[in-house]
């Protein structure tokens, strides 16, 4: 127990001269738990060399290469994501544009329709007004012509009556002759 304890301490506190001898060299029973200082020193030296060489020429480059590759992958992923985002943004923009254009077109159509409607109404209105005006004028013209014709007829009738009466008066003595006279006059009117 005590020897085990001493070995624990010896192992932990880097080889002590106590355990320097090699058990095997004595030729007797071999103690597997007694370390040889020479081998410990060799191990230390070899391990140190391996560590330095590997750290510098093996693990450094491998880790660097892997880190570079990871960085490249990361960058590729990031750029792909950025591209995707940009594409999505562009798509959204285009969608918005198309939506806006659609709205505008709709507006134009409705505006056009409204304009056409108002124009039609206006045209109809003005046509109706013109028509009314024309009708009114025609009516007025007709009335005026009618009045004029009636006046003419009246004047003519008066003239005729006067002419007839004067003829009657001229030949008042002979009734038969008067009659004949009037008749011949009327016949002359017919020829006139």
């Amino acid at each position: 127990m005590r020897s085990l304890l001493s070995r624990v301490v010896a192992l932990s506190l880097i080889a002590t001269p106590l355990l320097a001898q090699e058990g095997e060299a004595a030729g007797g029973s071999v103690n597997l738990l007694s370390p040889s200082t020479g081998l410990m020193a060799w191990t230390l030296i070899i391990f140190a060399i391996v560590f330095v060489v590997l750290a510098k020429f093996a693990f450094g480059p491998i880790t660097a290469a892997v880190r570079d590759r990871e960085a490249a992958l990361e960058a590729a992923i990031a750029s792909a994501k950025a591209d995707q985002d940009a594409a999505a943004a562009l798509l959204a923009q285009h969608k918005a544009l198309i939506e806006a254009a659609k709205g505008e077109a709709q507006k134009f159509i409705s505006e056009g329709r409204a304009t056409a409607e108002s124009m039609r109404a206006e045209l109809l209105e003005s046509t109706k007004k013109q028509q009314d005006e024309m009708l009114e004028r025609a009516r007025r013209d007709i009335d005026a012509e009618k009045g004029k014709a009636i006046d003419e007829i009246r004047r003519e009738a008066i003239d005729l009556a006067l002419a007839g009466a004067s003829k009657v008066i001229e030949k008042n003595l002979d009734d038969a002759q008067n009659r004949k006279l009037v008749e011949s006059y009327l016949a002359s009117i017919g020829t006139r």
Binding site: V8, A15, P17, L32, S34, P35, V53, L54, T63, R69
Partner: protein
């Protein structure tokens, strides 16, 4: 292909026993201990007609003296395995890194071997280290990854023929654990600043002073022991797991020789093959666990605000 390798490994593991058995029957042969312990010799394939395995003696160097410390830096089997593992790991991962960088220049993910290595590195980094060490854990990634790949390669080297498991040696696992311990404590000091002292001395501010002092006297040693048990457990876990698997495989192979029968041989062999597959999994698992627990401990000390 893999079966052939495993079979060779098993035969090789058994080879010394066969030779020894011919010498003298009553002599006790230990095939397990030499296999799982360190040695100043290296097992290599022998030339044709000289058996399967041949030992070559490694050079002995005069021990270095640093103060009172005697340091025997003579290379051993495990030192060679550690160096081999270090070379393999460095070559594999730097070439993978080059492949990754080359493909990265064209902006594409890597393929083939570098792709597989990148996947492993990324898994350990993203799933094991970063979630456990807490915020700003990037600084601990190379350490954790080095632990994982180095331990894994050491573990796997123990499974191939002529290989030896350096991570089955307490000196290696203890050193790795001590390094981890230092990393944990330095991470704690950096993250907590002066508050780091609270991870050693238990000092509950919301208690009355009369309670605080006895609580501190009782619980401070617990906190301190807690600090040292973590790396101790790391060292023992890895060492024991790697050693145990090899002992099981060798014990199963040893059964063939205790029975001394060709008829019974396939059964322990089949079991040993199964254990070798398990060992393959354990090699990965233990490297993973060492890294995971190191990350968790680093995260614990960095997040411990009292």
């Amino acid at each position: 292909m893999r079966f052939a390798a495993l079979f060779t490994a098993l035969v090789l593991a058994a080879a010394p026993a066969r030779i020894a058995a011919q010498d003298a029957a009553p002599k006790k042969v230990d095939i397990i201990t030499p296999h799982i312990t360190d040695a100043h010799a290296l097992d290599i394939p022998a030339g044709f007609g000289h058996g399967l395995v041949q030992e070559i003696e490694l050079p002995h160097w005069a021990p270095l003296h640093i103060g009172s410390l005697e340091l025997d830096m003579s290379p051993t089997k495990h030192v060679v395995m550690l160096l081999l593992a270090a070379t393999l790991v460095i070559v594999a991962l730097t070439s993978a890194a080059r492949g990754v960088a080359k493909r990265a220049a064209t902006g594409r993910p890597p393929t083939g071997f570098s792709g597989a290595m990148e996947a492993m590195v990324l898994y350990i980094r993203n799933e094991v280290i970063l979630p456990n060490v807490g915020h700003h854990g990037e600084a601990f990634v190379p350490f954790g990854l080095t632990l994982f790949f180095f331990i894994l390669t050491c573990n796997l080297l123990g499974l191939i023929p002529y290989g030896s498991t350096a991570t089955g040696n307490i000196a290696v696992t203890a050193t790795l654990a001590i390094v981890t311990f230092l990393v944990i404590e330095i991470a704690g000091m950096k993250a907590l600043g002066a508050g780091y002292i609270n991870t050693i001395i238990f000092w509950p501010r919301d208690m009355p002073l009369g309670m605080r002092i006895p609580m501190s006297i009782i619980l401070s040693p617990v906190e301190l022991i807690g600090k040292f048990t973590k790396p101790f457990a790391l060292a023992i876990r890895l060492f024991a797991n790697m050693t145990a698997g090899h002992i099981v495989v060798l014990a199963l192979i040893g059964l063939i020789f205790s029975f001394g029968s060709y008829v019974l041989a396939p059964l322990p062999l089949a079991m040993a093959v199964a254990i070798m597959f398990l060992e393959l999994m354990v090699a990965f698992l233990q490297a993973f666990i060492f890294t995971l627990l190191s990350s968790v401990f680093i995260g614990l000390v960095r997040e411990s605000h009292h």
